[in-house]
């Protein structure tokens, strides 16, 4: 029996958003692509599951970089261009911030947002709008420069704000605006989706996040993130991509510094000109390259020199009453005892108690997300992997429930009732759950920390020097654009572009 062709142009390891984006883009250019996914469905954590007959979103809070039908942003446009037709629903608000002395609901749109901050902290409209406009300018530059690189002097002329803020942390830049603390607090909540505290978070990243999210709002697929993942996979297959599920890639085969294929846990050795890998470089360089002698010392130093970022802990509840009946008013709530992001980031090192959390009620963007008379409510914290590395298999269930109860009690205070009195179904997702379903290194979903030591601008500058094995590309949260479902797509496209560029280069050389 023969399950695979003798040779593929590209093997994509991992059929989540990044891998599928690579596959779509390569198939679109006529390449012969094989995707190998360890789970029995596409999407990685961009998926859903069914409990007691109710479908439950596994991970997606909001999808950025989609934009409206009339004004698509880059990820939304990519889906359109590829013929991946997703039924997007607009998320009604940016977020509700529940912070000491502040209960404020903020909506997308730069001016709206600035007005709402001003209503809570009078006299701040002009300054907040200035911050958002700066973010917008940097965001536009990042998008343009990612397509049209240019020389440094040219960049300084055309992209002054981007160039001049690139060397600074978010704190350093925000400090120059002289905003009252409460206004700063309202500009901070969404920070958690990119990791590090403001004193170490590149302003470039903060800008992109704020401009995209606050400026243009966000979306969710009607049928959960599985709709997005499945439609990408279906489209890829329609374009000729071979996708095989439940195929775990054990080894990436390398000879004389060049990748030439993979071996699966089942024992199939499959050959290709290129391998695009979603596994963390940590796993690849320490476990997957065969022979191990093909791993250069520089690659090990690189992964050791980077810091794993955040993972996720979520309690997902299906409640036996509607959001309206329970008095749940906001799609997304950030609750914290402080908005000192450095302090929050420090707390995420441990195993709780966690005081900086996000809650999502999908029904408020998608009324039909759950059966009639019910609603979903998820409580999420995004801990660093450090604390969770100390949990043993024997302690795991105890720790999991301790943390879940702490998060529930923390939100009970806010909601004014005990969520546990209404639980129809519940799922607790932990870093171990992520590791189980996706195989991600140490259950990490955020790649490497965006930090001043691992700055996106620096990542772009040194990308070429970090290609240690010819024909091997990486895609996923651990790549240049970092974490999040939107960036996953961008990372996947980048990996595909690298392959396409390399093919062109070789074709040119052959002529």
């Amino acid at each position: 029996m023969k399950f695979y062709k003798d040779h593929y142009d590209v093997i994509v390891v991992g059929g989540a958003l990044a891998g599928l984006s690579s596959a779509l883009m390569l198939a679109d250019k006529g390449l012969d692509v094989l995707v190998l996914e360890r789970h029995n469905l596409p999407g990685g954590i961009a998926t859903s599951f069914v409990r007691g007959g109710i479908e439950i979103e596994a991970s997606l809070h909001e999808m950025m970089s989609i934009g409206s039908k009339e004004h698509r942003l880059k990820v939304g446009k990519f889906f359109d261009d590829m013929g991946v037709d997703i039924d997007w629903l607009r998320v009604p608000e940016a977020y509700h911030a529940s912070l000491p002395g502040l209960e404020v609901t903020l909506h997308p749109g730069f001016e709206t947002f600035a007005k709402e901050v001003d209503a809570a902290v009078p006299g701040t409209y002009e300054k907040v709008l200035k911050v958002l406009n700066l973010c917008h300018t940097v965001f536009d530059s990042v998008n343009e420069l990612s397509i049209h690189p240019m020389s440094k002097p040219q960049m300084l002329l055309k992209h002054e704000a981007f160039v001049k803020t690139a060397g600074y942390s978010t704190k350093e830049v925000l400090d120059t605006f002289d905003l009252p603390q409460k206004a700063l607090d309202l500009l901070a909540p969404y920070w958690i989706y990119v990791g590090s505290g403001f004193s170490d978070l590149p302003f470039t990243i903060y800008s992109v996040l704020m401009a995209d999210y606050v400026g243009y709002g966000s979306y969710i697929p009607r049928k959960f993130s599985h709709e997005m993942s499945l439609k990408m996979a279906e489209r890829a297959e329609a374009m000729g991509v071979q996708i095989e599920y439940r195929q775990h890639v054990d080894k990436i085969l390398v000879k004389d510094g060049k990748a030439y294929g993979v071996r699966t846990a089942r024992g199939d050795e499959i050959h290709a000109d290129y391998v695009i890998c979603s596994a963390y470089p940590n796993s690849v360089y320490t476990h997957m390259i065969e022979p191990a002698s093909e791993v250069p010392a520089k690659a090990i130093k690189m992964v050791n020199g980077r810091k794993l970022s955040l993972t996720a802990f979520s309690v997902i509840l299906i409640l036996d009453k509607t959001a309206e009946e329970l008095g749940i008013k906001d799609y997304s709530v950030f609750r914290g005892t402080t908005m000192d992001t450095d302090a929050c980031y420090e707390e995420l090192k441990g195993l709780g108690p966690y005081h900086y959390i996000t809650c999502i009620c999908h029904n408020l963007a998608n009324p039909d997300a759950t059966p009639k008379g019910t609603c979903s409510y998820s409580i999420t914290t995004l801990p660093r992997v450090d604390g969770w590395k100390t949990v043993t298999a024997e302690d795991y269930d105890k720790v999991k429930h301790q943390v879940a109860n702490q998060l529930i009690e923390y939100m009970n205070e806010y909601l004014g009732f005990d969520l546990r009195d209404h639980v129809l179904e519940c799922v607790i997702e932990t870093p171990m759950t992520v590791a189980h379903y996706t195989g991600m290194w140490n259950g990490c979903i955020y790649g490497y920390s965006h930090s001043m030591d691992d700055h996106i601008v620096a990542r772009l500058q040194t990308a070429e020097e970090e290609k240690f094995i010819e024909g091997l590309e990486f895609s996923g949260a651990h790549q240049i654009s970092g974490d999040g479902m939107g960036p996953a797509v961008t990372n996947g496209r980048k990996a595909a572009k690298n392959v396409l560029d390399d093919i062109k280069k070789k074709e040119a050389a052959a002529k």
Partner: protein, 394 residues
Amino acid sequence: MKIKGFLKDVGGASRVTKRRLAAFANASAVPQTVDPIGDVSREWHPGALELVVTDIRTASPTAKTVRFERADGKKLPIFYPGQYISLAFNMDGRTVCRPYSISSAPYEARTDRPYAEITVRKSKGDGYISDYINDQLEVGTRVMGSMGLGQFYWEPLRDAKNVVALAGGVGITPFVSMAKEVAHGTLPIDLTILFGSVSSDDIILKDELAALEGEHVHVVHVLSGDEPDWKGERGFLSAELIKKYSKGDCSYFICGPQAMYRFLREEVAKLDVPARRVRFEVFGQAKDVTVFEGYPKELADKTFQLTVVRGIQRDVIPAKACESLVTACERAGIILLTDCRSGECGFCRTKVLSGEYFVSPEGDGRRAADKDFNYVHACSAYPLSDMTIKIPIV
């Protein structure tokens, strides 16, 4: 614009690039291979394990308890009492899977001589593997097994501390696991088991249950057969009987044959408890798909051609309209692994490339988008025409 001064501002990009390269230069060149979070996930969910049958004993005149240990002698995965194991048997070179609730306790899987047990009743002639286990299985046989699976367990965030178990026949098995764990002091619930059997001389795991009774484990036998000398409860698990043994806020856990579920759905409705207090275990493969509403009975006797795609391989096999796509594959020697075999878990998620099919409406656990794109859970999907399906390579 100005942040800190022109030169410092424009030098930002080179500054952060130097910082990044310095971080790499200063890093260790020793590979860091540990992944403790992944290790915990693999300890709980190691995938299919090679197991050896180490003991087979009588659980009642019609049932046997089979003990499995890992072939490598290691501990079995931690699981929640009430969960099941999916076993893959090698039947004359063909792989056939079946799920069984684990009747031993989680703590017994973690001792120095760790094991897991299932208890299986002999069928009335229609249970291929049940009868194989009862009549032919021998100590020393090797099988592959995945555990702990399923959602039928006490979850403290959701369920009441008082649990009333409604068991029918061999449906007692998950509750024996729970009772063992309660008696062991590691499951903090008060468990009352209402156990329906037909006759007093064929009560499954009767002695084990008796030994587990105590402060927090209560067993009430309910006989449906006609026995003049029986002093205990009689009849079926009626709402009246359930109420009699319920103390305050209770969660009801139900496991038994399909006929009992139809009866109990009505009885439980009379209890007037919130939906979240009632949990049914999935009951395995439908014995007779033709009884379901919407099934075209006129096709039941037909056999169709099923094209099975695995990678670039295509095989054509016969498939009976009254048997699931999984059964067709198993009969033809094509491996299509299942877990719950009830349509719920999605482990056997399969793409239908062409053809008509019927999906068993009980326990259809498919995702909404999957339905839109013709995915089925092959254990609960039945061919209604010639079909082509794509399944994972095993």
